[in-house]
């Protein structure tokens, strides 16, 4: 796949504290790349460095064949985490201003604005003052502002925060659609279920350092073993003795059996003793959400299990 953005060896310090340590990743044309990490891990700082709002202490940022301050920023769309709009202007004016700052032809911008307002259920709101919009409507306008100039690279920092499920779905579809049309998308989000549904590859960062980088499949294969949840009163030692079980967590009547990553679920199920009390049984992979919490809380249990049997 064509490389759109390459980050190599990015380092940044605030005062004495190093907030980014040797960050390297790529974003390809037409893919959705997620950048994940707990609050304060360095996601927004990485993004601000890409956008030229901050400058890294060392490392390179390459977009197509441009470096650093030569990067044509009108080819990039950006929706920052801390975002807002001028209050006392109307929707059309502010969107045209944003398009103009990106050197996008205004007549074409006008057409696209009308098309997107319709798409996002904001038809007829173009003359409405921004301060009269609800929070969700405001977010939609901000989103339109970031894609109005048909960017080749779109950077979205927490695009889903504060959106209702209907709007989330709308955003998801639009982002997927843009990627299908060739836009490279760098997405930061805390909503792991959405990331899991959408992204092709992911980069997880903790305290300014890379912890995971790869395709969703790779990551899942590497980190996300199967786990089997059994509802019913059973002896923990007996469960622990079943082949392929790494460890068991028990809560009330439910037992969660963490399995090693060689386990084939259909074959493994045959190992269950006949006398086990089973009201309900569920077997599934560990979710991105669980991996995220594991890393963010520094437990690193899942990683060790993955590595141990890799």
């Amino acid at each position: 796949m064509e490389k759109m953005l390459t980050i190599h060896g990015l380092e940044k310090s605030f005062k004495e504290k190093k907030v980014l340590k040797n960050i390297s990743f790529e974003v390809h044309k037409g893919e959705i790349m997620a950048i994940l990490g707990p609050n304060g891990a360095g996601k927004s700082t990485t993004i601000r460095n890409i956008m030229g709002i901050m400058y890294p202490d060392s490392g390179t940022i390459t977009f197509h064949n441009y470096n650093g301050s030569d990067i044509p920023r009108n080819k990039i769309g950006y929706l920052p985490e801390e975002r807002g709009l001028y209050k006392n202007v109307n929707v059309m004016d502010i969107l045209l201003y944003l398009a103009n700052l990106k050197d996008y032809p205004l007549d074409k911008a006008k057409e696209r604005i009308m098309m997107y307002l319709k798409k996002f259920d904001l038809e007829g709101k173009e003359k409405v003052s921004v301060e009269e919009l609800s929070k969700g409507m405001g977010q939609k306008v901000q989103f339109i502002g970031s894609i109005i100039h048909e960017p080749e690279l779109l950077i979205l920092d927490e695009p889903f925060s504060g959106l209702d499920p209907v709007s989330q779905e709308l955003f998801k579809e639009e982002i997927r659609g843009l990627a299908d049309n060739g836009t490279a998308i760098l997405l930061s989000s805390h909503q792991m279920n959405l990331v899991e549904e959408m992204c092709d590859r992911l980069f997880m960062i903790q305290r300014g350092e890379k912890v995971i980088y790869g395709t969703l499949e790779d990551v899942k294969r590497k980190y996300a073993n199967f786990k089997c949840t059994i509802h019913g009163e059973n002896n923990i030692d007996e469960l622990q003795g079943i082949p392929g079980v790494l460890r068991v967590e028990q809560k009330d009547e439910a037992s969660i059996l963490h399995l090693n990553n060689h386990v084939e679920p259909s074959a493994w199920l045959k190992n269950l003793p006949d006398h086990l009390v089973i009201h309900e049984l569920k077997i599934n992979r560990i979710s991105l959400h669980e991996i995220f919490i594991d890393i963010a809380t520094d437990k690193n249990l899942l990683k060790e299990e993955g590595v141990m049997y890799a």
Binding site: R48, M51, G52, I53, R73, N74, I76, Y78, L79, P80, E82, R83, G84, L85, Y86, K87, N88, V89, D93, Y97, L98, N100, L101, K102, Q142, G145, S146
Partner: protein
């Protein structure tokens, strides 16, 4: 630069569509006009001061000479002779604005002239009446039997006069000082014009302050900065508000000019199109650039205008500094305060405009030094503002302390 112009255009468009700005645009000249109109009403009323009736009881025959003096000096007096005696006048109830003067031998012998006044009288009357002392003095001397020449010498008295080499220019300046109209107005008009421009654009420029902090409050700074550099954004704001200031000037003058032309007969246009106007207006523009840089920098350090700290508040007051100096500078345009004010960056433009308006001879060396001070200050403030703006504009939700600002400047 292209991006700066886009930002500038946006700031202009945004404000010109903003009701608050539009109301402000018209309200200040309208208020000014209202006060000027009310002032002119009072002014014309005070011109019609009551005529003072002056009755002279003349026993030594100087009445015609006194009448001539009153006519010459243009006093609003109506002179009449009277035969009433002093005791009668002292006892009678005098109608308003009336004075009785008794000129008899006492004036020649003791040098005293009794004057009786009504209760209501022009407060300056007793000063004005001193004009009569000269002919009486002359009469007294001539009684002594001196020749006319001797009398003139005695009467000449002694006066202290500043030595001026070129006698001709001295006379000229005396003439000018006497007729406070003509030529001084000619200098006053460009000065006032530049003053209006300076105040309008500097005050409109204060909105930059709000605009910069609003950018943070509305959290749009980062979106804008993903397309333009911080210095583009800063320059755009400075240019935008400069144009808005000029629009304010045009509206102001557009409303005031017709009024001035209607109420006065000053040939304003003629006085305005002189080379001096160019320098004065340039000073006004430089003044704007300096304060705009300060405002845009400081605005970026504040999360909200209503939470401005002491430091920010003090900076806001800087453009008002020259006002403190108005008194001393107008009193003595070449005095110490005026000269010191010419070299302090914050007061230099205002004081310079005041001084150049007042002074007949322009102190070119001082002007050049002062302009250099202003230009260097602009460069320094622009550079500092750029550094502060770059960091401050992205610091949401918190005011920067002077310590932090200092750190950004050193970075």
């Amino acid at each position: 630069m292209r991006n700066s112009m886009k930002v500038a255009k946006w700031e202009i468009k945004r404000n010109m569509k903003n009701k608050t700005f539009l109301i402000g645009l018209f309200i200040s000249p309208i208020l000014f006009l209202v006060f000027m109109f009310i002032g002119s009403l009072f002014g014309s009323e005070s011109e019609e001061t009551e005529t003072t009736q002056v009755f002279v009881h003349d026993q030594i025959g100087v009445y015609p000479a006194l009448q001539a003096i009153v006519e010459q000096s243009g006093l609003n007096w109506e002179m009449q002779t009277t035969q009433l005696s002093e005791t009668e006048v002292a006892a009678m109830e005098k109608s308003e604005h009336t004075a009785f003067i008794f000129i008899d031998n006492r004036a020649l012998e003791d040098g005293v002239v009794p004057v009786y006044l009504s209760e209501e009288i022009n407060p300056f009357f007793m000063n004005q009446v001193q004009l009569f002392s000269e002919p009486l003095h002359a009469l007294k001397i001539s009684e002594l039997g001196l020749s006319e020449e001797e009398t003139a010498t005695v009467l000449q008295g002694i006066s202290f006069m500043e030595a001026i080499e070129d006698n001709a220019s001295f006379e000229e300046s005396v003439e000018e000082a006497e007729g406070f109209g003509g030529e001084s107005l000619e200098r006053l008009v460009p000065g006032i014009f530049a003053g209006i421009i300076m105040l309008s654009i500097v005050f409109t420029g204060m909105a930059i302050f709000q605009s910069a902090s609003q950018e943070k409050k509305d959290k749009i700074a980062e979106i804008i900065l993903s397309s333009v550099t911080p210095s583009d954004l800063m320059q755009g704001k400075i240019i935008g508000y400069f144009v808005l200031g000029l629009i304010q000037v045009v509206v102001f003058l557009g409303l005031i000019f017709p009024f001035v032309l209607w109420r006065t007969d000053i040939p304003v246009i003629e006085y305005l199109f002189v080379p001096e106007t160019l320098l004065l207006v340039s000073i006004a523009i430089l003044s704007y650039l300096m304060f705009a840089a300060i405002f845009v920098g400081i605005g970026a350090t504040m999360s909200d205008i209503s939470t401005a700290g002491n430091f920010q508040g003090m900076v806001m007051m800087l453009p008002f500094l020259p006002f403190i100096m108005i008194g001393p500078v107008l009193n003595d345009p070449n005095g110490l305060v005026a000269q010191v004010g010419t070299y302090i960056p914050f007061t230099a433009p205002g004081v310079l405009i005041m001084r150049l308006t007042m002074l007949e001879e322009w102190p070119w060396i001082e002007i050049i030094i002062s302009l250099a001070v202003i230009l260097i200050s602009i460069l320094i403030f622009m550079k500092l503002a750029g550094k502060i703006f770059k960091v401050g504009i992205l610091m949401y939700g918190k005011n920067a302390s002077p310590g932090e600002i200092w750190k950004w400047i050193r970075a």
